[in-house]
Subunit: 303 residues, 2 copies
């Protein structure tokens, strides 16, 4: 079988974007994704789809891009590649719900190649509950693990640890949320063909709407207080800190003259910073903070 | 006359902190600064003073620090110094008002020395109006220029340009606000003694409360709409972007294991991100955006 080329991969990713938007509109029940097509200065372009003020989702972005460019020295160093023309395609998603009992979710699948013939896949999916619910964190990790295991039993443990290390606000010694998986530089080898790796990333893309629709259904009807809303805004502040201080995709995009509004769609509609906010001992907020640690074995939690 | 040593400078900066907090409490009329003393892991410490939910100021931070440490390789490269033990003292201020017609303001004065005997002063003051008022921007720049001119006629033009270049959200091609001055690496030479430079920084510190009290008095009684409040929250979002993506002091602090809550006191109580927000043509918001450019000659504007 012929291995997929860049346009096959871009097409498959574009389809995943449409599929996800349809499913999420149906889960939200009211909000619609706007559609903006844009061009990249170096070649190619993308489609940014945004829902603002849906019934359940306060702000949700599903971005597809397939762009060409030339790596600057700074960008090349950042990703450990040579300075050369490149092609990159991917789907990137962040969703911020109204209700603090519905978690924030992020998913990204991407493919990168240089004209030198180097290529790799990267991506991940991770969950950021404002209130950690161990049963739902386990459900999320079990679902992710199931997809990983179908492709390679080694994936989940390796990529789960990678997510713990990556989605980490080191200045606060806090993980961003309950993690998930993060992978990078996956390329064909003895065990997996290029097609296999593409299929793995598409499976992660499809998992996204299944698992998030379920998490919405479980939580969106729960009542919440003003204090819980304020805690949500503070947790969103931490999300902003991670994305602007550390996130490689964000910084790569901003410094590489990417389309700012598509890159920063990940930022919430509203976020708060209170000086030295420390949750009350024994509160659900304190319990959440205590669980934002690396190395938690979420698939076994509560079992 | 004996030149000031590190403890003289730290003492003078600590006094400026107290003076500023007193004057700003009086300008606010209701809010009080809390006081938190903290220690630095490497030696020394600081005092962080915060006002939250004052009558006029929604969140204001006035931080003093006088800390010892050892530059990591990363930190040393970031500031172009050698890896060595250092002492750093300074006052750093950011104030976010409730009323969108009152500008955000930032001031910083700092002194840095290594055990190798190298030292320098740095600092600046800059204004970030949510709505640019050219008369008030001129008043601000004239006031800053007057202080600079007392010490050196070359300071204002040089440091004004430096602020334009420094307080710049390059991913948006927008200045953070109407600028002011930014300076770094000021050290004694033929023209200025160490005492002179210290005096210059103290004069900037005193200018801060005079000029900001005036800007509060001019604007805090103006009525504002929900739409103007939302615009303020969006402008605050840009402020967050600058501080987390570019600001050297913030990143130096976060990566150098500084006290997170004192570093991030600069972030507003609340900030917003709307996807692809473009102000209406001819609106005051569009007029403001058009003025957020480098190289505006604010001391002559409207004259």
């Amino acid at each position: 079988m012929k291995e997929p080329g860049r346009s096959d991969i871009a097409e498959a990713y574009r389809s995943i974007q449409s599929e996800i938007c349809e499913r999420i509109e149906s889960a939200d029940g009211k909000g619609q994704f706007s559609t903006e097509n844009w061009e990249h200065h170096g070649g190619g372009g993308g489609t940014t789809r945004i829902m603002q003020q849906g019934a359940i989702l306060e702000k949700a972005g599903v971005n597809f891009s397939g762009v060409e460019g030339v790596l600057t020295k700074e960008m090349a160093e950042g990703i450990g590649a040579d300075v050369s023309p490149f092609f990159a395609t991917g789907v990137s998603i962040v969703m911020h719900p109204h209700n603090p009992h519905v978690p924030i979710i992020h998913m990204n699948i991407r493919y990168f190649e240089t004209t030198e013939g180097t290529y790799w896949f990267g991506g991940g999916i991770d969950l950021t509950p404002h209130y950690v619910n161990p049963d739902q964190a386990r459900f999320f990790h079990e679902s992710v693990k199931k997809v990983c295991d179908r492709f390679d039993k080694a994936y989940y443990p390796k990529f789960k640890k990678w997510a713990d290390d990556y989605f980490y606000n080191s200045h606060r010694s806090e993980t961003r949320g309950v993690g998930g998986i993060f992978y990078d530089r996956l390329t064909a080898g003895e065990e997996h063909s290029k097609s296999d790796i593409l299929e793995f990333s598409l499976a992660i893309g499809r998992l996204f709407h299944e698992v998030y629709s379920e998490l919405i259904a479980l939580n969106h009807g729960k009542p919440f207080t003003e204090a819980e809303r304020q805690w949500q805004l503070i947790r969103r502040g931490r999300y902003v800190e991670f994305n602007l201080v550390y996130d490689r995709g964000t910084r790569f995009g901003l410094f590489g003259n990417g389309r700012v509004e598509s890159i920063l769609m990940s930022l919430p509609a509203l976020a708060a910073w209170e000086y030295n906010h420390i949750p009350e001992k024994g509160s659900p907020e304190a319990a959440t903070l205590a669980m934002l640690r690396k190395g938690v074995d979420w698939v076994s939690i509560g079992k």
